[in-house]
Every structure is written in structure tokens, then in C-alpha cells.
Symmetry: D2
Subunit: 403 residues, 4 copies
């Protein structure tokens, strides 16, 4: 797999948070599909709508990445199987070697202002253990380049799958690229975060960047300027995987029928690390804001009572369960109710979208597109540079753009 030096047809997928649940699903899923253990269900990029696109084949994707924890790709997959039972015990045996090969391409990550909830389980010292920010960025770039060289990759897509960071206030970050560069040069660790550094490192080095996490990252103006300057495509943020996806198809229905939503109450319970980190309100803030904003936007009603709860329920592990209660009025101001429950495996919902995003953004890069990739809005809770939250319209943007 690593010998194709001439053709360089392969695509690298560099995952930030490589020992997390989503990464484990990406690795296990890709390996299992190649070995014929799983179907391609769940991959948007495999739909007929995108068949005539020249997307990179699944078998040409090589995975690597970094993490702040001491763990391993096999350990991550085992933990996913034990907790959520989505790999299959025998499938796990069958792909163990594939996972070990990926392991060789996973290095240590960096940590800056991620918050205590994240630092608690990290083995990496926050703030680069005294290292200058300049050096932290250089280290990240060095690691991506090494991954590319070792595997003779045509391109590498960097995807941020790290836990939600406590540094949630984008306004605190430098505004312009010039300011950002000054902050880096003067080692201003107070106004930067891992999410910003990763985005800077990837884009500055010419690698397309996807922010699948809710953390502050490539969507700040300074990084957007950098992406224009470097002519690198990027998109974010906060993957739209389950309950919010459902919201963004249901809310337009209420709007199109002129049904007035009075209250939309959402209760999410989950038991993976994501759930544990989000139980710290500082880390949950941006996620909750993204979830609430979508509704207000879609229902064009500032008066709507939209409440979102995320609670940590260890027994559920990766099986995020959501209850949504929608109170609305119809004709003659009649009060009616719709409720739904969603029982989905978070990682199995997120992982294929990560692969889809890598394939779509790689093609964009190959075709010379750069800056914000608005056509990818349908994959995100808070799509950078896109106001439209209606999923049906977002999907049309994707379909039209690509054909």
C-alpha cells in the first residue's frame, strides 16, 4: 500500500483525535469495507447523485493522524466494540493488522486552552510544555508532511475530530491574519487554542482542512484569510450527524405549512468521551449554541423557546439517544405535539461523513478550488459562511455544485 511512489494515486486522511471513537469508526469502516465485511451504506459520496464525479476510491484512502492521549488504534477499536458493539468481534480480529498499520502513522498531538475536561485525559502537556507556538505549529506541519512522504500520498486532508474545547469564544482570537501572525510570533498563548493552531498549520502548509469539531478553528476571519492566501480549501464546523440533522429537515416542514412552533425541547443523552467532555458546560457552550441557532434560523421566529440539554449517561456509551418535544399551533390556534426519539450510534453516523468530506474536498482541491467550500454545508451544524440551515436546500447545493 505504501509502495506506489510513481503514480501517487493515494489520498491521506490525517485525523486529529486519532484514538477517539469517530476515528476508530473511520479506520475500522474503511478496513472492513475493503475486506468485504461491510456494505457502503452511510457514505453520501457513494450515492448515485455523485457517481459521475471523479472521487478518490475508498481503497486509495490512507489514514494517519495524531492524538493527545496515550492509546492505540487497536485499543480504540476494541473500546468501541466493547462499548457500542458496532464492529463485530470477528470483524475486529479480521482488521486488527490494518489497524496496526495505521498505528504507525499516528503521532502525538498538541494542546492549548482545551480546558480541564480535555486535559484530564491527556498525556500531552497543555501549551506545548513551554514550547514556542511557532514550534508547535512547525511540529504539526512536520508530522503531516512525514505522513505524506512515508505513504507517497498525492494529497492529505486534515480533519479535526478532537473533543470540544473550552476555548469557545471566537471573538477572543486575533481578527486578521496579520494579527494572528503577530500573536504567533509573540507567543500569545492566551488568545489561541489547539483548534486554531491545527487549522493554521494545515492550511499554511497547503493541506485542505475540515473542522468536524465544534471548537473554534478555521472559521475565524484570520484563518479564512490564510486559506485565500495559500489557495487551500477548507470547511467546518461541527458535524451534523443525528438529532440536529433531523431538526433541519423537520423545522422547514413546520415553516412551509405555516405551523407555529412554540417550544422545541431537545434532550440528548450519551456516554462516550464526547458526552463526558460536554458535561463540562464550558466545553458544551459552542455545541449548544450551534444546535439552537439552526432552529431560530429555520423558523424565522426569535420568540421560539428552544432548549437543548446534553447529559452524560455512561451506560449508553456511543449510542446517543435524543428525545425531541415539539409544541406547535395550527389552524384556529390549535395546540399540537410532535415528539421523536433518535437512537443512533454517534461514531457510525459521523465516520462516513468524515470520509465523504475528505473525498469531496480533495476533489475541490484537485480542481483548483480554495477558501470556504460552501457546497459542503449539509455536513455541518454551523456551516462556515453559509446562512442556509434547511437540509434539503443544503443537499441541493452539494448536488448542483458537483455535477
Amino acid at each position: 500500500m505504501k509502495t506506489d511512489r510513481v503514480n501517487k494515486s493515494k489520498l491521506g486522511l490525517w485525523l486529529i483525535g486519532a484514538y477517539g471513537r469517530i476515528s476508530a469508526s473511520v479506520m475500522a469502516g474503511l478496513a472492513g469495507i475493503r475486506r468485504g465485511l461491510y456494505s457502503k451504506v452511510g457514505l453520501v459520496s457513494e450515492l448515485d447523485d455523485f457517481r459521475r464525479l471523479d472521487l478518490v476510491p475508498l481503497e486509495d484512502i490512507v489514514v494517519g493522524g495524531c492524538d493527545v492521549r496515550k492509546s492505540g488504534t487497536v485499543e480504540a477499536a476494541e473500546s468501541l466494540e466493547t462499548g457500542a458493539h458496532i464492529i463485530g468481534e470477528k470483524n475486529l480480529d479480521a482488521i486488527r493488522d490494518d489497524l496496526l498499520r495505521v498505528q504507525e502513522d499516528v503521532e502525538e498531538g498538541i494542546l492549548l486552552n482545551a480546558g480541564e475536561a480535555v486535559e484530564r485525559f491527556s498525556s500531552v502537556k497543555p501549551g506545548g510544555n513551554g514550547m514556542h507556538i511557532d514550534a508547535m505549529i512547525a511540529q504539526v506541519q512536520e508530522r503531516i508532511r512525514r505522513f505524506q512522504a512515508r505513504n507517497s500520498l498525492r494529497d492529505v486532508i486534515v480533519v479535526n475530530l478532537a473533543s470540544a474545547e473550552a476555548f469557545g469564544d471566537a471573538a477572543a482570537a486575533p481578527e486578521t491574519l496579520a494579527e494572528l501572525r503577530r500573536a504567533i510570533a509573540s507567543n500569545r498563548k492566551d488568545v489561541l487554542s489547539s483548534g486554531i493552531l491545527y487549522a493554521y498549520a494545515a492550511i499554511d502548509a497547503g493541506y485542505p482542512y475540515v473542522n468536524f469539531s465544534p471548537s473554534v478553528s478555521s472559521e475565524i476571519p484570520a484563518i479564512m484569510e490564510l486559506a485565500e492566501e495559500r489557495r487551500v480549501p477548507h470547511m467546518g464546523k461541527d458535524g451534523k450527524t443525528g438529532e440536529t440533522l433531523v431538526k433541519t429537515v423537520l423545522a422547514p416542514m413546520f415553516a412551509a405549512r405555516n405551523l407555529k412552533v412554540l417550544s422545541w425541547i431537545s434532550h440528548n443523552i450519551l456516554g462516550n468521551r464526547d458526552g463526558a467532555v460536554l458535561s463540562d458546560s464550558r466545553n458544551a457552550r459552542s455545541k449548544l449554541e450551534n444546535k439552537a441557532a439552526a432552529l431560530q434560523n429555520l423558523l424565522r421566529d426569535p420568540g421560539i423557546d428552544s432548549q437543548v440539554r446534553i447529559d452524560y449517561v455512561p451506560s449508553l456509551d456511543d449510542w446517543k439517544t435524543a428525545w425531541d418535544f415539539i409544541h406547535f399551533t395550527g389552524f384556529m390556534d390549535t395546540r399540537m405535539i410532535m415528539q421523536f426519539t433518535w437512537q443512533g450510534c454517534d461514531s457510525a453516523l459521523a465516520a462516513p461523513l468524515v470520509i465523504d468530506l475528505a473525498r469531496f474536498i480533495e476533489q475541490a482541491h484537485r480542481e483548483g478550488l480554495y477558501g470556504v467550500q460552501r457546497q459542503l454545508a449539509c455536513f455541518f451544524k454551523a456551516p462556515t459562511g453559509v446562512h442556509e440551515q434547511n437540509f434539503a436546500k443544503q443537499y441541493r447545493m452539494l448536488k448542483r455544485h458537483e455535477t
Copy 2:
């Protein structure tokens, strides 16, 4: 209201099934809105998207119609209030005179092959009590014309709100207009039904026709030919009010995420006359088919296990409750579940759509459009001449057409 002879700005709404729950809601709703008792929530035609259209004002709509039962508009509204509590006791007092005025414009309907479940509560003799079909049609036309003249109406929209008929097999009806005319002339009561006769009568007399019921009616080729000949607009069938509406926004979401639906099980319970009639499997057939077909169409999967139950639960009266269980697989063939419950008042969901349809089709008529009005597909479970079931796309059809 009936004195404006010069200007003739008023629009007539002639409801087949005028003593039913939906009609009661149409009448009470319109009267209440005029008196400032209710907001305009629930009316699609009041959305900003249609503001610049020259739709007939709500206060210019005059209601009349026919029914096969001996009852009254006030009795119907009282029964709706007692059973479903959506009018409000004091509101009902406030609009009682309005309802009595409508009462003067309600005449006896006709009945042909509607099935025992319907005949059981009818006071009209099935098959016109020996009358020739020709005369039955003439009688309907005579009644609509009288309604128009009495109220000096610019136009009259005929809307079929009658209970589902047992005559569910459109294939048994005459195929061409010529055949249909021969069947009428030779008084062939075995191959015709009330639904067909009403459509024939309205369109033949130049009145736009809307089939909101699931019964066989204007969508058969013979009537479509008639509408072309008479240059009259029409559309149907089977109003998309609640659970099926939700299905046609959720199913496209599963398709767009490449999530494979294994089973979609729907259980509807309701306690109004509609529920009682549908508990006769002969009358329920076409409704169940419409509900199932939408899913298969949207998920492009003939293998999907789609089951729909409708059960009669008197205590619910008009409050249709639906439970939908959706079993699907995602990435790595992981099995997941979404469930929803819908607690909606059937009449309050249907009534505004009836008013919307009347306003939209009146405008089409005024602008010289005729034949099937495909842009109205979003209002129906089985839109005549339209294959698209995706609600978001159907709504776009409506929005684009009208602006």
C-alpha cells in the same frame, strides 16, 4: 355579504361533505378569523412566500356545499367542539350566526358506490334512488350554480371532502371521456361512483375541482380529458396533512445520507368518522396505498418493509395520533432506530389546506390555467400527474410557479 352584485369580488367554496369535521373547521376557522378570534397560523397561502400573489382575501370567501347526512353546520361545529375542543365554547357562540348563514347554502349530496361504511350514516338513497345518472349530475350542477347566483360569486371552487369511498379501483372506471359519456348516457351505475360524478359535474360546468379525499375522482384519464376540453383547472388527491407529511420530509433525509431503511412501520389511531369509515378495509385501501407508495418512491427501495395500520379509537375523536418506527442501517451496517409520535387534530390540519387550495386554484383559473395543477402537489398524498413525493421539492414547485 351577498349584496355585492356589481363587483362580484367574492369566491365560493362548495364543500362536498359539508357537515363533516373538516368542513366544520373550514367554516368555523374562516368565521373566527374574520371576527379576530383566531390568528392565520396554519394557512400556507398567508406565508411571505406568496405575499405578492393576488390571492382572494379570506374575508371574500363564501362557503356552501352538500352532504348526504341530515345534520347542520351548527351541529357539525358543536360536535367538533365537544369531541375535539378546537373551536372554544365562547368562540362557538360568537360564530353561531355565521354558521347559520352558511347553512342556507348547504344542500343534499349524491351517493353512488360509496360502500356500506358510508351508506350506514347517510340519509340519501344510494344510486340516486333510481334517478338517471344524467339527472344526478344535472342536480349537482344546478346546486352549484344556484349557490353562485345567490351569493353573486365570481367563481366557485368545488372541493371533495367526503369520506373515503369503497369504489377504490380506478381501473374499473371508463377510460376515455367518450367512454365516460357513454356510461353516463346508458346509466351504467356499476362503473361509476360519487367521486367521479362530482368531478364530472363541477368540471363540465366550468368549476375548478379539488379532490381532497382519497376516493377515485378527477384523476382518472376520462375526467382529465374533460378538464382539458372545458379548460378547467383541477388537482388531487388525498390531502397530505400529518403523518404522511412527516414521512415525505424524513424519507429524503435518510436517502440523502445513504442510510438504508429496513422497515418503516406506521400506526395511526383516530376516532372521528374518517376513522370509522377507514376501519372498513374496503374504504381504507386507497388511503393505505397512497401512504405506502410515497415511501417506496422516496427511498427508491422496493425491498423496504413498509406497513401502515389505521385503527379506530373513538376516545380520540379528531385527535389523530400516529406512531412511526423506522429501522435503518448506517455505516458498518449498524442498526439504528428513529421513532416519532404525532398528536395532531386532523381537521385543524386539513381545513387550512382546503382554503389554501381554493385560493391557489382560483388564481390559476383567473390566469387562464387549466388541466392538472401540478404546482399544488405538496398538498396531496397522491398528487395527480406528479411523481415527486419529496415535500421540500414539492414546496419549491409551489413557490416557483406562483412568483
Copy 3:
């Protein structure tokens, strides 16, 4: 109603929080039942199981009470009807005079350490506006006695229906009756609360006392001592009306089948004043503790993950809705799920229990019983002096005691 001086057959019901939702339901319900507007459904004391008891007839109950707000019995009923639609507009007209008669027997209440969330809507000055505690107690007693005299009542039952108080820590209160009396004598407003003062006043004056609220009150040892001394029956606390009731029948089922509950997550949403007050975490604390304790007790499992959320959703008004998610394992450690939703009108669930409690405790008083009335445990979330939380067993205690 107030002329029966000789026989004195009537029972007084003195409600603390007389302008609240529950009180409005008690008053409207009793008046409506007397006038034949409602059935007796919901009243436990009307079950066959208690037929041979000599309980006071419903028509012999006279209602009065106090409140810290400026409002009225008619206003309270109107607000209940507007918000929750449980009285019926015409029924409300029919009982308006009955409510006005009750109004004459409602006086001003007292307020001490109830917390800001309560003080915000009170017109009474906290802490008796400088009055000595002794005088506050005397004032309450004076008002109850006046109510009794004015209506020639054989007995008066005092029921605490006031909002949850922030003074949630019973440990802060005086421990013994002697200490309590010293605290009162020395005007120690820091260690007392309205809940304690009301209980003291009622019991000291010889009136049976029921604490239907979650506030600290008659269950503290000092008051229990007083009740023994004064030979007055009392019971509390925190009415078991809806979701907790369901929990205390379902949890024993899991236990009896040896099914291991891993997590039991409850989310309550409601929009009445109770919901508003409970959205202040200080006022919610004792309620949440009562809800969680029941489960741990019933499942005999300290490891169970029991989480309870109460959120304020104004559009729901009195219609408390709860979603419970129960994750459990069965044979072969198989993980299974039960979920339920409860859509109940809080006041309509609480009000009949208030009437039941008054009837049962009055009979106990008449028969010479005093102190904690353990047989009434089935009506409470945190039954004073009773460890048993299994509803089936609690109900048996009630049935056996009374026959």
C-alpha cells in the same frame, strides 16, 4: 352552606397557596362536582375500597386558605382555564359564584426564607415585615380559627400547597421541640421558614396538617414532637402525582424480574408557576432529591445512574410532560430499553389527592389518631416516617389501615 350551626357537619379545607393552580383545581373541581358538571374520576377516596369508611361527603367540604400573592379565586380559575383548558369556559361561568364565596375565606399568607424565586411574585413582605415570629404564628392561627368559626366547621385540615421553598435543608432547623420553641421565642428568623411556621401554627392549634409541597415542614423532628404532644395527625411530603408515581410502580417490576437498571433518565418539562420556581436550582433541590431517592430505594442499587431534569417551558402551562428513558440489562447481560412519556395536567392530578388526604386525615383525627399518618404514604414522594416506596405496597397500607 354557612348556616348549619347546630349540626356542624362540615369540614374546612384551609389551603396554603390558595391562588395557585392546584387550589384552583380543588375549588373548581369541588364546585363542579356538586353542580353535576364533572364525574368523581380521579378521587381515590371514592373507590370501592373505601366505600364503607365514614368519610366526609364531598358536598360538606368548605374551602378557604391564604396566599402571599394579590390575586383571587376567580382570577386563579380563569388563568387555569386559559392556560390549561381543564375547567371548560361554560363550566367556569357556572361556578363563578362558588369561587367568589370561597374568596371571602382567603386571607394573606406569610413568607420566611422562601427564596427569591418565590419572593419575586409575592406581595407580602418576607419575614413578616419585621413582625416577631410569635406574632406571625399567632396570625396564622387566628385566620384558621376565624375560617372555622365563620363557617361553623367541625374540623379544619390545613394543606400546604405553596411553591417549593429555597429553605431546603432540614438540618438547619431546630432539632427538638424545646429548641424550636426557643428559636421562636428569640425570633430566630435565620433557622426557620414559612413551611415550618405553618406546620407549627396548625398543629399547635389542633388542626391536622398535610404537607403536599416539597418544602421543609411538619416532617422535622421538632414538629413531630409537637404533633405527639398536641395529639394532632399530620403527614407529608411532596405529592406523588405523575412521573414519580409511574416510577414507583415500574421500578418494583424491574426488581421483581431481576432486571438490572443501568440508567434511569427523567426529563420533566412544564410551564406553570411551579415550573418557574423550580427553574431556580435552590428551590428545585429537595424535589429532585425526592425523585431520585425513590428509585435508589426501590432498586436497592447504589450504582444506578439516576438523573432528573426539570425545565421550564411556558407554552405547556400546567401540562407537565415527562420523558423517561430506562436502560437495563436482562438475561445474558442483554441491554434493553424502556421509554415512557407522560402528558398529564399537573393540577388535575394533584387536586383530587388533596381532597382525598383531607378526607382520610379528618377521619383519622375523628377516630383519635395522631402523629405521623403512615398509611397515607402512597400520596407522597417522600412519605414521612415511611421507607417503603413501592406504590403497590403503599396502597395496600392505605387499604388495610382504613377497613
Copy 4:
């Protein structure tokens, strides 16, 4: 395991329907518990309440049985794992040898008037392929005795786990033991069924019998007479595993609060063989009756609208899902709603009860008890000879009897 000839401490469990899902769970569960792969969760007989009883240890239970299909114990377990994932792939490998050992003790079953839905998958000829009924019974007895001898068992408990039979009308069966014996002697295959023959065979030969299926069997008077004559204990019928269990704890709650249930609608969906057989209305009849009867009994209300649906949804396999919608009124005739969904693995719920029943009835037999074992009512939907359906009371019967 089969060498303990002297002590004869082992108990035989002879399962009718040994290749079905429940039997597979019994076998896999017992084997897995012995090997430390599973906890004892789900076994009622392991509760503290029964600790001082001298129940046979789990490791002393030896399983055998019969089936009308050609299959195997390993195949059954594999199918259970593939379809429902409750064994665990590696656990299945670990117990494969245990299952093969059981295989040696599984013989061919008999078939009489079970209905087409059952015959469709049977390899055994219905009606004993011309054999005399006498011989069919003798054959069954011979097989049980052989099982006992081969394994040196102290006693054998026969448990009917076969699919629901179409022979659902107990009234068609012979009434008295004398009549039954005449019917057998005269080979009257029209008035008998497999369920009756198995019960006759077991009890006549002195083996305790448990009818866990909904089929007509030991509960008919003729067999009850036989059990008295032979002094053999027996009990049935129709295991109370999931949704009905919940009903029998919730219904008493509504009754005890005097809440009037208007409608209780239940929709069960499942995809195992049980579901397939029950989709034939002839086989479903008795099951549906058992489910509805419990409610009417508990709510003492003949007017309650109780409807039960069972639909076959293959994708669910053994994961029975039920939605229950409960419409009720409370105080002031307020209409309220409770809904629940139950997502349980049918076999994992049934299997431990089979083991419990074997242990409890074996002890009863050992202590000289015979005839109907009413104390076991809590395990059944239609407990023989017991009118009480309240689960809490039934459980008390079990606890009191045994201590």
C-alpha cells in the same frame, strides 16, 4: 456431567421446541453462566427473596427436548446470534461444545392441529403420519424417560416452548379425563392437539409440566384431573415477558388512583418465528385474547377500548418492540395520555423465566405438591386457575408461598 449416578442430584429440563429462539437462549445462557461469561441477571430465582429456598443449582440443570424442525442446537444459537446479537460471537465459540452435548438429547417432536403457519416449517408429518394417538403419546413418554435415564436425572421438568398453535379453542377439547382417554383410545385427532398430547404424556408419566406457550394444553379440565390423579404439579400459560408484564403493573396504578382508562392501544412488532406464526390470525387469537383479558380484569371496566396488534417485521428479528398508547381521564374529566415503548429481546426475557419455572416447580414436586401451582401466576399472561392479574399481588403470592 452425566456420571453422577449415585447422588442423582441433577435436574432435567425437557424443552418442547428445542430449536427455537427461547430454547437457544436457555441453553446458551446456562452454558455461559457456568463458564462465567454472563451474570445471573434476569433470573427471578436468584433474587434474595428466594435465597433460603433449596432450589436446584443452575449448574445441576441438564437440558434436552424435542422439535418438529430439522435443525440443531448450534444452528439455533448461531441464528439467534446473527439475528439478535445477544450471545456474543466469541461467547458462542466458547459454548459450542456445550450446545453439541445438548444436541444429543434432542429428539423429534409431534404435530397435531398446529395449523398451516406451523406446519410450513416442520419436517414432521402432522398427525403423527398415520400413527395412533396412543402411540404418539407413548413415543413422547419414551423420549423423556430415555433423556432421564441417559443423564441420571432426579426429575425432569417438561416445558412447552412450541409456537402458538391454531387449535385455540379449548372448548373443542374433551372435557373430562374419562372423555379425554376415550378420545385418545378412539384416535380422535379432530378434538386434540400437540399441546394437549404433550401435557398428557408428561403428566401421565409423572413429570411436572409447564405450558409457556399460548396453546391449549394442561389448563383444560381433563388434564387438570389427570394431574390430580397422578399427583403431578403443573402450571401455565403464555409466559408474561414484556409488554403484558408492563401492562399488569401500570393498570393497577390507574385503578388505584381512580383514573379512568378510555383506550389502551398496543402495537407489537417483532421479526422472529413467533412473529411469523402470529401473523396468521388463527394462531394469534389466543395470544391476543390473553393480552386483552388482563386489562379488562385489572381495570374492572368492560367499557374500556383495548386493542392489541401484533405485526411481523423481519428486520427486528427477536427484538420485540411495543408501543402502548393509554388515553385516560382524571379529575374534572381531564383527558391525559401516557405512552410507552418497550424494546426488549424476546428470548432473553423469556429464557430466564423458563429456568425459574423449572426450579420452582421442581421444588414443589420434591415437597409433594401437585395440581395447579397457583403461586407461579406471576410468570404467565393467563395463569391457570388464578384470576388475579395484578403483577405486584402475583409476586407476593410467589414470595409468600415459598418462604
